[in-house]
């Protein structure tokens, strides 16, 4: 069961601010019982904790991706030509995985699977013994759909922030409640048809 999904920036935002890792979308699937926080803390603290945890994950993915691209000798994304389409973008994407120990920052051990498409990162926070091959496939499909339906590859790039219902519907179909699905291409086709029906409305 996937614990969380996030979309975030990877490289320094060229429009002026320093290399802040901006989290664009997070979704918690609440798949583990949380240890109650000490009494006396504001009830909003739990949400704050969740947001901070996701920020930590995003920052770690950012450094992992940067190091991986450096080691592979890839040029920085700003100087690259934009990819032709979403499928090509996802195929050329950098992919990696690392483990988060107990308390770093989640209460239990987690595995983070990430995909770096140009200057965008898509990350899945999974359980330690998740079927990583299935998770990788799901992440790539999700990324492809996000790129397509949230129009990341063209201007203005604000859809991910405003058109949240699209991301919600994508996650609802492809990763319902964080459940990874063993869906063959016909199942995916049906789901994609439902998604396409929704998007055209």
């Amino acid at each position: 069961m996937v614990h969380g999904f996030l979309i975030h920036t990877l490289c320094p935002v060229s429009a002026g601010s320093s290399s802040v890792c901006r989290v664009l979308y997070t979704r918690f699937f609440c798949s583990e019982p949380r240890v109650p926080l000490p009494a006396g803390l504001d009830a909003g603290t739990e949400r704050l904790l969740q947001k901070e945890q996701m920020m930590v994950v995003a920052r770690q993915v950012k450094s992992a991706c940067t190091l991986s691209r450096e080691a592979a000798g890839k040029t920085p994304p700003e100087s690259c030509l934009p990819p032709l389409d979403e499928v090509a973008a996802v195929q050329e994407a950098d992919c990696g995985v690392f483990r988060l120990g107990v308390g770093e920052p989640f209460q239990e051990e987690k595995t983070v699977l990430w995909l770096g498409v140009l200057s965008l990162g898509f990350s899945l926070v999974c359980e330690p013994h998740e079927n990583l091959l299935l998770a990788e496939g799901t992440l790539r499909t999700l990324a492809r759909h996000c790129l397509e339906h949230l129009h990341f590859l063209g201007p203005p790039g604000t859809d991910v922030l405003l058109k949240v219902d699209r991301t919600e519907v994508l996650l609802d179909r492809l990763l319902p409640h964080g459940q990874l699905l063993f869906a063959n291409h016909r199942f995916i086709h049906s789901l994609e048809k439902e998604i396409a029906d929704y998007m055209t409305k």
């Binding site: 699937f29 798949s31 739990e46 949240v164 219902d165 919600e168 964080g178 063959n184």
Partner: protein, 810 residues
């Protein structure tokens, strides 16, 4: 991709003023109240989501807006867009005072959204139980036309992972029965395709045909996730969802032991006999629900494994086949753990699968759950597993180290099972050269895994070789890179070079016979062929052109961490012999390292601190290794190349070369060391008028002075010599040439130190006490016992030093 426009949107959402916010809330509530479901409402809700989600700190929405959103969420007539938006907003505004949402009726889709929001509000057992209750009620009831129960299984899966006790025994049995139906008895006809209202309708609707396999053949047995059809029926969707959650379910509700069958008498059942899948299925109708589910899940996995042998027509299906293999073997493993009577049937299947996959590198990821299965159950079934482990530890790391996912999973496997592997798998202990390959290639991602894994690899017989391998980890990275590039180059570029040709790059060296042996050693699979090679410096030189490659630099940055881990572990069990060997390696390798910027300095830093730890553990090593230490400390070049480390060595000599640490320490040894160090100090303090600024720091000088004094205090014939030297040092410090080399404070420091030592050595017994305290000085009794002479001695010494300093010339 991410533009300034988006950046400013986030800023606006965060900095929106209270006044504007209130106006916005009012507008939203007016739109929702008026049941206006047009574009403006959509837009407003989207902005509302951005506002509540853009900040870390939660915003409290006004009551009426909350209420309206909840109404929107719970009504099954709401369009999906509004349901999605209200679900997202309500999720972000927790904590908020929700009325009890799960009491609402609705379609399964609504139910699923409501459950999501409820569970996001904080988890307590009652809430989870009530959600579980409603989900099950929905599952049991017949869904109205157009609705599907498939949205409910993921909710159920989440509920059981949050709180497995939230389901009663009856509910568990109910779900088990349903899962059996969905997994095993789903229809094998395709679903009727819903026409999308195109121009050509009824005359062209086709009769649904049978389900096919991934290679196009008609389905051979019951429906699984690897069955294809133009469109799917409800129970086929449930089949897919049920398999997606079956692992979690079985793990959650495992029963202890087995209720059926004999599991103990191995001699009666021959483990290698093939048993057919359906042979036992007829009797299973009599089993209780949980056990029946186990049986059916086992059959499903068996069928998946058979289906994976087919050649899929689409690439995504081929990937799914691999994922299904992994899941199937893992589920079988779980079932066998719960009920050992399945082991024989499972092994028949898994062994055949291994035979099919072992030669094919493309299926290497499936090899890991197979190996785990063997590790868990091969003893039970008395099956020989050597071949599997050999394949795992020789081929995978050496041929697939560059695949990040496989490398990670492989390392996880080693780390999680390290105890068992160390004890029962003989090949594991000596495969560390291979095990280091994924780490060398992808250090940043795997370093934390190896920090945990490394201690278990180190043993008395492998420690020295592991130390050498760790020190040459960046060389391994370089060699692997060259190997990969060579494999992908033209065949003409892979021909071995003539021995007389001079090489100009590392790529050429890889093909040159003179260097070939060295590369082969670095890239070896197994330990035991020698701790290191003789011509290591030659290898380092020839790899120099790769020293600034990013991958090698990353590896060089992680190696010192591993060295620390190594020494921490080795210190736990090392005996005297091993400590001596380690010190020799430290001395030898301190300059024999691959020349990457900063690498040498960091490794020498680790060596410095670890040398002292080793000395503390086994102080006699100074005496035992006196020849090597004398040679090391007598070489002036060492000061230039590794000053910090040299200083530590000299300090260790001064501290531990005494009879109180080792009875074998002779006066001759002390004198020999003294003369060696004196010669070095003399050499580096020769004032040469044409000399350039020296490359060593004043600390070396003071350290040498102190050490010489320490040695002199132990062998008092040397005191006149050292006193003479010290007074020479005082004038050295005041010479005009030196004052241009060092700063004012440094010169003062040298001068003060020399003066103090001279004064100290005028009182030999005090000097002996101060400069070489006996080992008892470190035991607590001295500090607690006020009657000891330590405070008096301190006072005496400080008086001596102070008295003299007031007379010393300026």
């Amino acid at each position: 991709m991410f533009t300034a426009g988006a950046e400013s949107l986030i800023k606006q959402a965060r900095e929106i003023q209270d006044e504007d916010l209130q106006k916005f809330y009012t507008r939203v509530s007016k739109l929702l109240y008026g049941k206006d479901f047009g574009n403006e409402t959509v837009d407003s809700l989207q902005r509302l989501y951005l506002i509540v989600s853009a900040t870390k700190y939660s915003r409290a929405l006004p009551e009426d807006v909350l209420q309206l959103l909840q109404d929107l969420l719970c009504s099954s007539k709401t369009a999906e867009q509004f349901q999605a938006l209200s679900c997202a907003i309500l999720r972000e505004t927790f904590p908020c005072d929700l009325r009890n949402l799960s009491g609402e009726e609705g379609s399964s889709k609504t139910m699923s959204h409501v459950a999501e929001v409820t569970l996001a509000q904080g988890i307590n057992k009652d809430k989870v139980s009530s959600v579980a209750h409603h989900v099950l009620k929905c599952l049991e009831a017949r869904q109205p036309e157009g609705q599907s129960s498939r949205y409910l299984l993921p909710v159920l899966s989440k509920v059981i992972s949050l709180s497995p006790d939230s389901l009663t025994e009856d509910q568990i049995n109910l779900v088990s029965r349903k899962l059996v139906d969905w997994l095993r008895y789903a229809s094998i006809q395709q679903g009727v395709q819903l026409s999308s209202g195109g121009f050509f309708t009824s005359p062209r609707t086709r009769q649904p045909g049978p389900i096919t396999e991934v290679d196009g053949a008609v389905a051979a047995d019951f429906f699984t996730v690897l069955s294809l059809g133009q469109s799917y029926t409800e129970d086929q969707w449930m089949n897919m969802h049920a398999f997606s959650m079956i692992r979690k379910w079985l793990l959650c509700y495992s029963t202890d032991g087995s209720g059926n069958g004999d599991t103990d008498d191995k001699s009666e059942v021959d483990g290698s006999v093939m048993s057919m899948v359906s042979a036992t299925s007829t009797s299973s109708r009599l089993l209780p629900p949980k056990e029946r589910l186990r049986e059916k899940a086992f059959e499903y996995c068996h069928r998946l494994i058979e289906q994976s042998d087919r050649k899929a027509l689409k690439k995504s299906d081929a990937e799914l086949q691999k994922a299904c293999l992994i899941e199937a073997v893992t589920v079988m493993d779980i079932i066998c753990r719960e009920d050992p009577s399945f082991v024989y049937r499972a092994f028949a299947c898994v062994k055949a699968l291994y035979g099919r996959l072992s030669g094919d590198l493309a299926f290497s990821r499936a090899l890991l759950p197979i190996a785990q299965f063997y590790l868990n159950h091969s003893e039970t079934a008395a099956v020989d597993s050597e071949a599997v482990y050999r394949q795992l530890f020789t081929r995978i790391p050496s041929e697939l180290f560059q695949e990040p996912m496989l490398a990670f999973e492989f390392t996880q496997f080693c780390r999680v099972n390290v105890k068992v592997l160390r004890e029962s798998v003989s090949i594991f202990k000596h495969s560390f050269p291979n095990l280091f390959k994924p780490l060398a290639w992808n250090s940043p991602a795997l370093i934390s895994e190896y920090v945990e894994l490394l201690p278990s690899l180190i043993g008395p017989d492998t420690a020295i070789e592991i130390l050498h391998s760790l020190l040459d980890l960046p060389c391994l990275t370089a060699a692997l890179d060259i190997q990969l590039r060579s494999a992908s180059s033209q065949p003409s570029e892979r021909v071995p070079l003539d021995p007389s040709v001079k090489v100009s790059s590392s790529m050429e060296a890889f093909r040159h016979p003179y260097y070939r042996g060295m590369f082969l050693y670095i890239l070896r699979d197994e330990a035991g062929t020698g701790d290191t090679i003789d011509r290591l410096s030659v290898l380092h030189e020839v790899l120099a052109d790769m020293a600034d490659s990013p991958r090698i630099v990353q590896c060089a940055q992680t190696t010192p961490i591993l060295l620390q881990v190594f020494f921490n572990e080795a210190a736990q069990f090392a005996d005297e012999k091993l400590i001596n060997q380690l010190v020799l390696v430290i001395l030898e390798r301190s300059s024999l390292l691959y020349d990457i910027p900063n690498y040498k300095r960091e490794v020498q830093r680790v060596f410095s601190s670890q040398l002292l730890v080793l000395c503390k553990l086994h102080p006699s090593l100074i005496v035992e290794q006196c020849k090597e230490l004398m040679e090391f400390s007598g070489t002036t070049g060492n000061i230039q190349r590794k000053e910090n480390f040299y200083t530590h060595v000299v300090w260790a000599i001064g501290e531990y070369l005494s009879v109180s640490y080792d009875k074998r320490c002779t006066v001759e040894q002390i004198t020999a060391f003294f003369e060696t160090l004196e010669a070095v100090l003399f050499e580096i303090t020769q004032v040469r008028l044409s000399a350039s600024i020296p490359t060593y720091s004043p600390r070396v000088i003071t350290m040498l002075l102190t050490t010489l004094s320490k040695l002199a205090s132990r062998s008092q014939d040397l005191i006149p010599r050292v006193s003479l030297f010290l007074s020479k040092m005082r004038s050295f410090a005041r010479s005009p040439a030196v004052s241009s080399w060092y700063s004012e404070e440094d010169i003062e420091e040298i001068h003060t130190r020399a003066s103090e030592l001279i004064n100290l050595l005028k009182l030999p017994s005090v000097a002996q006490f101060v400069l070489a305290p006996s080992t008892e000085g470190t035991s607590p009794r001295w500090h607690r016992d006020t009657n000891t002479s330590l405070p008096l001695a301190m006072r005496a010494v400080s008086k001596v030093l102070q008295r003299d300093s007031s007379f010393s010339p300026g």
